[in-house]
């Protein structure tokens, strides 16, 4: 409420966003106990996260209040409208110390600018954005989606070379829904586990245009997909699969880029190959393992400031990792129904850098979770000394409704 007087007067969107931020406290009774589908649904969460970032010896603190509201309007049997809003109030040292931090927070946009910093000063940053805003039309085996949506063509957990429309970073753990793209997507289901899809992303130039199609089929207990298209100036071909090796899961994604038009994303190469494989296994005790390997033909064993790049949000699928080889191992264990522990390690064979990510989720109440998360980056700094580059600890409280 304190924030009201700081809203820029000319921004209608800002007012709407602020109302949305305050909505969860007033719309809580909207829990449905009946089993009849509703015409209008709302769900979301409110998160509070404190982060402690150690850069060498200096400690930078940050506080984040984060709300999400997901609306769906089932207009009739064929049309549904989805609108999902993310609002973040950030305070602390990063806002104060990091140059252009507000631009970094406000940058998560596609063609349409659906993000706005409502408060932007050295004390606080309030950003509101719509990362899903689309209409869906369903008729028998046809499905058309238009607007800002997530087009997820990846199959792996850690790295997704087939995620051509909206790449995401494993390090960006607090963005559970991952970014969306302003796109038109037409799907036709040719069978119970097979489909053909065509999707195109809105773009002001060829640099940002992605248009591609995918054929997905199910054979020998494998989901297999073939992709082709034009991706930010590259002719792109890809394939992916998800199946089993004995009792274990076996997934993979391959993408080959061949430069057709010079763009800001492919100026450094003519051809690029990205591949990622993963194997996962769950023991009856609920102990779960996932191991992944990624290859980037344009990567380097010792990229300049590789870790700084790795830790940032990827611009396109090409930026998943600047290293030639990247390895990922995760184990997770449901200690009790209330405690879920996991440990992920990312290493770069040949390079001297690695990443350690322990996490514990505690279910405090039916709809209230507390997460304790660590992100530890080790590597060579700019002077060539090996050590910890960044140690971050997060305490997050999440209330879902």
């Amino acid at each position: 409420m304190v924030l009201l007087f700081q809203i820029p007067e000319d921004k209608m969107f800002a007012k709407v966003a602020l109302i949305l931020l305050l909505l969860p406290t007033t719309m809580l009774s909207a829990q449905d106990e009946t089993d009849k589908p509703r015409k209008f649904t709302m769900k979301g969460y409110l998160k509070e996260m404190a982060s402690f970032n150690y850069f060498g010896d200096s400690l930078l603190l940050q506080n984040l209040v984060h709300s999400r509201l997901n609306f769906a309007w089932y207009a009739n049997a064929e049309f549904t409208v989805y609108a999902e809003f993310r609002t973040r109030l950030i305070t602390g040292d990063l806002v104060r110390e990091i140059p252009n931090y507000s631009a970094y927070i406000d940058s998560n946009n596609d063609y349409f600018d659906l993000s706005v910093n409502l408060i932007d000063n050295k004390t606080a940053l309030l950003n509101a954005m719509a990362d899903r805003l689309f209409i869906q039309w369903i008729h028998n085996n046809w499905e058309i989606k238009a607007g800002r949506q997530r087009i997820n063509w990846g199959v792996n957990l850690a790295w997704n070379p087939n995620d051509w429309f909206n790449a995401y970073s494993f390090f960006d753990f607090d963005y559970e829904e991952r970014p969306g793209a302003d796109a038109l997507r037409i799907s036709y289901y040719t069978g119970v586990a097979s489909s053909v899809e065509v999707a195109a992303k809105m773009a002001k130039d060829v640099d940002h245009f992605v248009g591609a199609s995918m054929w997905r089929l199910n054979k020998y207990d494998y989901d297999i997909q073939f992709l082709g298209g034009l991706v930010q100036g590259d002719a792109a071909l890809g394939t992916g699969w998800a199946g089993n090796l004995g009792k274990a899961g076996f997934k993979g994604e391959l993408t080959y880029f061949h430069k057709v038009v010079n763009t800001q994303f492919n100026s450094a190469y003519n051809n690029m190959f990205l591949g990622a494989f993963s194997v996962d296994y769950a023991f009856p005790s609920s102990l779960y393992f996932n191991g992944s390997l990624m290859y980037n033909s344009q990567g380097s064993l010792h990229p300049d400031f590789g870790f700084e790049l790795v830790a940032l949000r990827p611009g396109t699928v090409r930026d998943l990792s600047p290293y030639t080889w990247s390895t990922f191992i995760q184990s997770a264990y449901q200690v009790t129904p209330l405690f879920y522990a996991s440990l992920a390690l990312i290493g770069y064979p040949g390079g001297d850098t690695f990443f350690v990510n322990p996490a514990l989720t505690i279910s405090v109440l039916q709809n209230l979770d507390v997460d304790l998360i660590g992100q530890l980056f080790y590597g060579e700094d700019q002077t060539g000394h090996f050590g910890s580059l960044l140690k971050a600890a997060y305490i997050r409280v999440k209330w879902s409704f």
């Binding site: 089993d35 997820n152 289901y189 119970v192 586990a193 009792k247 779960y288 709809n367």
Partner: protein, 246 residues
Amino acid sequence: MKKLIVVLLVCIPMGVQAQTAKEIIKKVDDKMQGNSNRSVMRMTIVRPDWKREVTMKGWSLGRQYSLILITAPARDKGQAFLKRHTEMWNWQPSIDRVIKLPPSMMLQSWMGSDFTNDDLVKESSVVEDYIHTLKQDTTIGGRVAYQIEMIPRPDAAVVWGKVTVFVDKAELNQLLVRYYDEDGSLVNTMVLSDIKPIGGRVLPCRLEMIPSDNPKQKTVIEYLDLEFDLNLEEDFFSMQNMKRVR
């Protein structure tokens, strides 16, 4: 004379021979499952100091096809699980992703409860995957019950060493199920109660799974709604429907 032979032919399989253990289990299973069904369930994980609830809607056709939609808690609402034969997928609408689950996940605990994925989507068959033997009748809660011992077939994907089922003779409902490990130790006990008319049948609507190493904890499944023999076809259990069911 001719008439008598016909009468005998008809009677022999039913009257003269008692029902075999396998036939009883098949009837019980058919009654609980139907050819196809639609259900609304609430699962409650109960521990001495707390409890957690998951509610879901389920559709199934025979043993080969099932679809489950999570309706609560808020955190997981909208997620769906599809099973076709031996394949299983999880739909996560928040990230627009279908995740194919490895077969090893079938024996994992279902959302941290005392039930496994297999208990929910019924990969293994109580009829086909076991050898059944009829034991001494007994009485449970005032109901006369068959006692049937089930030993898994060697090639069956079953975690248990032995399962003992007690079936109400009058209504052909399970009343009690005991699950033993391969060393013969009791692992879980399932108590079925709240027997009442639902979906046009008389069935137990409350299933409690109690682990024997921790009798103070249990997981309860309650059927809030149940319908049988709907016109569900095999192609209802599809990727597109996993994303669309509400």
